[in-house]
Symmetry: D3
Subunit: 163 residues, 6 copies
Amino acid sequence: MEGLTHFGSEGQARMVEVGEKAETQRTATAQGLIEMHPDTLARIRAGQMGKGDVLGVARIAAIQAAKRTHELIPLCHLLGLTGVDVEFSDQDQPAAVRCQVTTRTRGRTGVEMEALTAVSVALLTIYDMCKAIDRGMVMRDIRLLEKQGGKTGLWRADAGNAE
Amino acid sequence: MEGLTHFGSEGQARMVEVGEKAETQRTATAQGLIEMHPDTLARIRAGQMGKGDVLGVARIAAIQAAKRTHELIPLCHLLGLTGVDVEFSDQDQPAAVRCQVTTRTRGRTGVEMEALTAVSVALLTIYDMCKAIDRGMVMRDIRLLEKQGGKTGLWRADAGNAE
Amino acid sequence: MEGLTHFGSEGQARMVEVGEKAETQRTATAQGLIEMHPDTLARIRAGQMGKGDVLGVARIAAIQAAKRTHELIPLCHLLGLTGVDVEFSDQDQPAAVRCQVTTRTRGRTGVEMEALTAVSVALLTIYDMCKAIDRGMVMRDIRLLEKQGGKTGLWRADAGNAE
Amino acid sequence: MEGLTHFGSEGQARMVEVGEKAETQRTATAQGLIEMHPDTLARIRAGQMGKGDVLGVARIAAIQAAKRTHELIPLCHLLGLTGVDVEFSDQDQPAAVRCQVTTRTRGRTGVEMEALTAVSVALLTIYDMCKAIDRGMVMRDIRLLEKQGGKTGLWRADAGNAE
Amino acid sequence: MEGLTHFGSEGQARMVEVGEKAETQRTATAQGLIEMHPDTLARIRAGQMGKGDVLGVARIAAIQAAKRTHELIPLCHLLGLTGVDVEFSDQDQPAAVRCQVTTRTRGRTGVEMEALTAVSVALLTIYDMCKAIDRGMVMRDIRLLEKQGGKTGLWRADAGNAE
Amino acid sequence: MEGLTHFGSEGQARMVEVGEKAETQRTATAQGLIEMHPDTLARIRAGQMGKGDVLGVARIAAIQAAKRTHELIPLCHLLGLTGVDVEFSDQDQPAAVRCQVTTRTRGRTGVEMEALTAVSVALLTIYDMCKAIDRGMVMRDIRLLEKQGGKTGLWRADAGNAE
């Protein structure tokens, strides 16, 4: 097990030097869900049909948050994302909305944090827009599904980890 | 069940008018956790003793994110937080770090989103700092525990919801 | 004609002191439009029916920009908006989308700049989303329609000014 | 007429993938004007001679806004501008200040939005600084004049469009 | 000597609760200077007469930084400044530009950090604009001169401290 | 002595075009210190041993500020830092904490402003966290120590300048 790279030799936090890393194509996919009352899910589904599009707002929030990840996560590098995709799906047992985000760049560091941050902000935005009717919503299972590119190459959450 | 207040009569998103609400003391407490490999937790615990303080960095990230919630959550009002507290605890079965944030203001809207955003960013920061040794960490059970103040008064996650 | 208040006695820019002003209810409404090729307007109208909702994205951009006006306009005060409404309408002769924004606060300064900034960013977002098919779009007639509150009270664009 | 690239196959907003595009030299020039009372223009002209430099402040606001375009326009990519120039001119019939901005980068996406955003914020800043004496100012004819670089190469507003 | 209020009982950083403090009129004045080569100062002085106004740009940067202090200083509260004044003066022995900033608010916390941050960013901006001709410039003696308001009332740098 | 490059031929501020510059490895190191009462220094030193880690918070603030330099300094280019290191040391005569920051990138412009901004924000954060016990602290001698890369190559503060 290698070390926590975000610290120097005396334990001080630092932004890890990545100048020697190659610029490669990098991709990450993350996922998470928000559980809610079935009535809340019914409302969200109704909105997709034209009135009160909760997921449309959450999608924009997710894309914008991906771009600002370096401001939120202290030791994260600024990078120029080349693309972001945000997908939502829903389920009944239990009632929940699932969000999956894929981020891509050509650069010297991975884009895992951008994907995870986008998922988190999407779920927070759903919470915000529905909290007047359902304060008990719970955000769960926010995790990285897959990353590609860079020295460590492909990584996939294994079956056990991925629920 | 009242409506989704973040939409106008034709379903268009809006920032809800709160000018008529009273300025009251408002408090919210939110919580969440990040599960990890036991070795990762051991590293974090070691850092608290002076080398590589993961939780110290995550705490600062959480406080700063609380102040920027209105930038991240599209329909959230800007408000001046009067205080933020961030607490971490850890557990072994399963290995995890738990984060709890309390936010307070005197104002016309609640501070639930500020507390939830701070918890999310704290967990994301822990992920970022430990991902070199453990990409399979999972963020779970991010939820509101309690809110006080405003017209709806006190709300507490019920026992069932709150695990 | 009174002076340009954003300058001190020696012509230096400053953020005008408003501490002595009363906290009153303040409202502003601004408007603007973006002219485009009729085919572009047809695409936007089609999107309102569920595929590719240009105006839904522009509305979110407008609300978020209203909250960040003080960061964009150098001598503008930070204030906590109590509400923002963004409305779109369209017309055929010439083909255009019109955006109207109303901003409200209780505070010591007016919210005209917040309304005007939100209109501008809504129109810019429409341009961004449609520029792949129509680079010749033109933003026009961005103006204040009405403001209320504060020492100067009600102001309305007169008929001549307001087209 | 090709499609609105900012939407996926199901109409969902996305940040378009540009990773396959070539890094080329890209330039854009945009323009717009703000009409005002002749007395207001006289004040602005006087300021250029040393007291109350409205246009100097607006120029800085424009440059800073160009750098933050990706934060304001939801689906816009972050890119590193290599240069920004902001020019003002004025006219008497009708009394107005015209702003022209040129933005440049080496990158995978164009810089039209950066130029248009900078023009808009320049005009908004002029409005802000002069609104105490002239609330009826109107921003007009904000448009792209020319863009170069990228797959679509050179584009110029045609004579008819460009007034 | 009372304690470091930015830490909780176990040493953890926190944003101090100020909800119980009274909203009073608060003012702070800070100062600092940047020493430079006499030729650099000559250039800056020339710019004040119309070509290349270094101090005009630095003044805008200072005002904008004051508004964003809470984003830069992790444990600082967001507050709505009611006014900001930035003054520059220069001296020959040694060649230097001095910057003095006064910030004001009505609120529950002081505005010392806003004044100090504005001074720092003004000096940094001067450095940036002149560094092509003088990289050896040094920023010195950035300090609080005076604060008023709040429970601790008036504080003034004593003669000894204030040089 | 060459000119102030941040101005155009008519004295107008501009963001200098750097598109023609080569992408090279660039590094900068800056330094500064904050003088304080010996009791304040004693408190900070005690915090390093686990309770109230002032320097840990200041380090995070410095790294985050380095990433946002282009937002603070009006004519500064956005660039992607590849690494940031922040070191603190302290001294007794006079009692002070010294901060040194090294920033690195591969790009077309230098990273001096990022290093100087990080130092300034580190010192401001120390001030903020200790001001309840020592308002008379003074920030001094913020300067560039060394830069490498780009057309002008290596630059070092000469012995005389560097104290």
